[in-house]
């Protein structure tokens, strides 16, 4: 009759595991609401305006001659072949940020301006943010000299 306590134990374990699983699933679901940021090119933003307040990643090339440093931070334009979007950023630009280079900014889009909380640029000489490279390749804008 030694099977019974072991079985009991097993049932308890399965219950605990199931409980944890439910907790995990709900936390994952909840976390995905805030933690997921879609990637968009300027064209995507213009064609289908994201709902206000949505945190997303805007990628493209930093338009030539668009970088303006002001007292409240920096402004520049991110562009793809068809459209460009004004980005405002009140922080320190990454080391590899430069006009004509690939860039990814995390932030929110409202009334024509993308307010970035974070700006990522190419991490080294041969690396361009993958989404930017892929998206630009689709548009035929990608130049192998840009990396990857």
């Amino acid at each position: 009759m030694q099977v019974t306590p072991r079985k009991q134990l097993r049932i308890r374990l399965v219950l605990i595991a199931a409980l944890l699983l439910v907790a995990a699933v709900s936390l994952v679901g909840y976390g995905f609401r805030d933690g997921i940021a879609y990637f968009r090119l300027p064209t995507d933003v213009i064609n289908e305006t994201p709902r206000p307040g949505e945190l997303f990643r805007l990628g493209g090339l930093v338009a030539e001659g668009s970088v303006v440093h002001g007292s409240g931070g920096v402004e520049f334009e991110v562009s793809d072949e068809h459209h460009s979007i004004k980005v405002a950023f009140a922080g320190i630009l990454p080391d590899l940020f430069a006009e004509g280079q690939g860039v990814v900014a995390l932030g929110r889009y409202q009334t024509g301006v993308f307010t970035a909380t974070e700006v990522l640029a190419k991490h080294d000489e041969t690396y361009m943010p993958k989404e930017v490279a892929d998206a630009l390749k689709e548009q035929g804008l990608f130049k192998p000299a840009d990396g990857l």
Partner: protein, 673 residues
């Protein structure tokens, strides 16, 4: 055609060593193949002499791999630019330390380091495993050799580090200046020792499944290897995080980046494995689960290698990308993890469970520990791979950021820390929570008091502040009480207590240190998350402003200075605490002409209770953008990691492992409190 004659003859002198290194690598591959096949046939047929091949084969494999690695290292030290890898990753003007770290600061070299560590571990198993049953030993080393032959093939066929280049360039292309840092120089070796060390637990598990025997002795053989890998992983992760903190200049210490997650998942599984192996060793319970964890821990190491080496997921840390290699590693991952899991499914059920225990017992607490760690690891896995799945399935490009991980992973780790003191104090087989809680009443009271005090003091601040502090105090208090009751269970003379402190087994010391270290790390993480202040401002020399209630900055000057291989824009700040100057800070932006790269050098005034962290942006006509943080208890994060790894090391000195290794055969009575 112009032939660079002089450099060819110069290079020719070293060409031979490079070739020898390549040959040694091929021979090591052949050794691994022998070490893998002959003992398998031997165990099948019961031919002991064939099984004994493993020991000499693993020595030969290690020596040959070491020779090969030495040849590559020599090429880096001599700056032999006829070797393609040296030409792309080194520079004759680089300091020796970074020439050395350049050996593994690239894809090919790092894979060579990987097989070097793998063969070192095989060799160590052969040396320390003299007392192992010959069947188990030969099977374990055969599995180990199968893993290393796969990686030798990977290097030889897709990532040959000895490839030469013609014409020979006069100068190397330098190394990424971000990588020229002592923290990062030693980060990969430690991480690899951890990753690859887990292969030993994996091989032991597969060998046990093939043999169909798992017992307390098996767990005692596996645990020290897991412990050693865990120590290396902990140090490796801490070094990486520290590097990101002070070198990247972003002010963060953990970014939930895929590459970081790649090392965190095996760490979570290794931690779970450590605890479940204890149950298997002491109580012969949870044997199947321990086997499964041993397989999973190494599988996630392989997965980590795949993530880092294939560049499949966009990552700020990915320096290498080549899809062909990614597919090769994916194949290795599928064959070994898939194979081991199938074997587990087929043979695992035949392992009869034993060792009954009550619902409230140390065993149950350790099961809870394991479940929480495993769930946390799976959630990290989901978050890390979700972008890939979304792209493949829905065709949408997205990223999963820190908010996801903070919400979905932290609760499980917080719950784990909250139940830890109770579980650690519960007796094996059967216990009572009320008894343990009563013993821990002082820790509980201290924890509640500190939580409430913080809650009142910060009035409406983030949850992580008061909850994190309460958990850290509860954890630390629990460790102290548990330790004290072990050395002084009753009123006794001081001498007796001291003797008990000295006589306490290494594993008990290790447990106290590791759990105490966790408390320190949790305190650091909570404080920095809840109370960090950040001020961004465009300012000019002469400006003076507050960056927190207590601290202020005075901008003294901005200059251009020259370094050994860079030019830098440097700013000088005086850090003021309550108006009194306490330190000078010199943040820089460096430009390296050799690589055309700019790096941000944060200026950090480190302190026991807080760090002040200042970075500057590119100077503009309107002024310099200055980002300044006050980071409370920042150093506690890494201090805790050091204490944790120290705990692991002390635990390794426990006498029962030396007995298990067969180095000493004295009998002893376990000192139980």
């Amino acid at each position: 055609m112009v032939l660079p004659g002089s450099s060819v003859t110069l290079a020719a002198r070293w060409q031979v060593t490079v070739e020898l290194g390549h040959f040694a690598l091929i021979l090591a591959f052949l050794c691994a193949l022998v070490q893998c096949t002959i003992p398998l046939i031997g165990t099948q047929r019961g031919w002991v002499s064939w099984m004994r091949v493993v020991a000499p084969a693993s020595f030969a494999q290690f020596i040959l791999t070491a020779l090969s690695f030495a040849a590559l290292t020599n090429a880096f030290i001599q700056s032999d630019f006829s070797v393609s890898l040296v030409a792309t990753n080194s520079h004759s003007a680089k300091p020796l330390l970074y020439k050395l770290s350049g050996v593994w600061g690239n894809h090919e070299g790092s894979m060579l380091l990987w097989v070097l560590v793998l063969s070192l571990f095989s060799c160590l198993v052969a040396v320390f495993g003299r007392q192992l049953p010959v069947h188990l030993k030969s099977l374990t080393l055969a599995v180990q050799a199968a893993v290393s032959s796969a990686f030798f093939a990977f290097i030889l066929f897709t990532s040959n580090p000895f490839e030469r280049r013609f014409p020979v360039p006069f100068e190397g292309a330098g190394l990424n200046p971000l990588l020229q840092d002592p923290g990062l120089a030693f980060h990969p070796p430690f991480l690899y020792m951890g990753y690859v060390g887990l292969s030993v637990s994996f091989s032991f598990a597969v060998a046990a499944l093939l043999r169909g025997r798992v017992d307390a002795a098996w767990a005692r053989w596996v645990r020290p290897w897991t412990l050693a890998s865990w120590v290396f992983l902990t140090i490796g992760i801490a070094l990486g995080s520290w590097w990101a903190y002070y070198e990247l200049g972003w002010g963060g210490w953990w970014f939930w980046d895929p590459v970081e997650n790649a090392s965190f998942m095996p760490w979570l599984f290794a931690t779970a494995l450590l605890h479940s192996a204890t149950v298997t060793e002491k109580r012969e319970a949870l044997r199947n689960w321990t086997l499964l964890l041993a397989i999973l821990a190494f599988s996630f190491s392989l997965l980590g290698t795949f993530l880092v080496r294939s560049g499949i997921i966009t990552s700020v840390h990915t320096f290498a990308s080549d899809p062909g290699r990614g597919i090769f590693i994916l194949a290795i991952l599928l064959v070994f993890s898939g194979g081991a899991l199938c074997l587990y499914g087929w043979r695992g059920a035949s392992m009869v469970p034993s060792g009954a225990f009550a619902a409230v017992s140390r065993e149950t607490a350790l099961i809870a520990n394991n479940l929480l760690l495993a769930v946390a690891a799976i959630v990290v896995f989901l978050g890390t791979f979700w972008p890939l799945a979304a792209e493949l399935i829905f065709g949408r490009t997205l990223s999963v950021g820190p908010p996801f991980f903070n919400i979905a992973v932290t609760p499980f780790l917080a719950a784990l820390a909250a139940i830890l003191p109770i579980g650690a104090a519960l007796p094996w087989k059967r216990g009572a929570i009320t008894v343990v809680l009563w013993r821990m009443r002082m820790a509980l009271a201290a924890s509640l008091l500190s939580g409430v005090a913080v809650l009142i003091y910060q009035s409406g601040g983030p949850v992580v502040g008061w909850l994190g502090m309460a958990i850290a105090v509860w954890l630390a208090g629990g460790v102290l009480i548990d330790f004290w009751q072990r050395v002084a269970p009753r009123r006794q003379e001081l001498g007796v207590t001291l003797r008990r402190v000295i006589g306490l087994p290494g594993s008990e010391w290790g447990k106290a240190l590791a759990h105490g270290g966790l408390a320190i790390t949790i305190a650091g993480i909570s404080a920095i998350t809840a109370w960090e202040t950040e001020v961004i401002r465009t300012s000019n020399p002469g400006d003076h402003y507050q960056i927190s209630g207590q601290y202020g900055l005075r901008f003294e000057r901005a200059d251009t200075v020259a370094g050994p291989n860079y030019r830098a824009q440097q700013a000088e700040f005086t850090l003021l605490a309550d108006g009194e100057p306490v330190a000078q800070l010199f943040p820089e932006r460096r430009f390296y002409p050799a690589s055309g790269m700019t790096t941000t050098e944060a200026a950090i005034d480190m302190g026991f209770l807080r760090d002040v962290y200042v970075v500057i942006g590119d100077p503009q006509p309107s002024g310099v953008t200055v980002k300044a943080y006050v980071k409370p208890l920042a150093n506690w994060i890494w201090l805790g990691a050091i204490v944790m790894s120290l705990g692991g090391l002390v635990s390794l000195t426990d006498r029962r492992y030396r007995l298990a290794a067969g180095q000493r055969r004295t009998s002893f009575v376990p000192a139980q409190g």
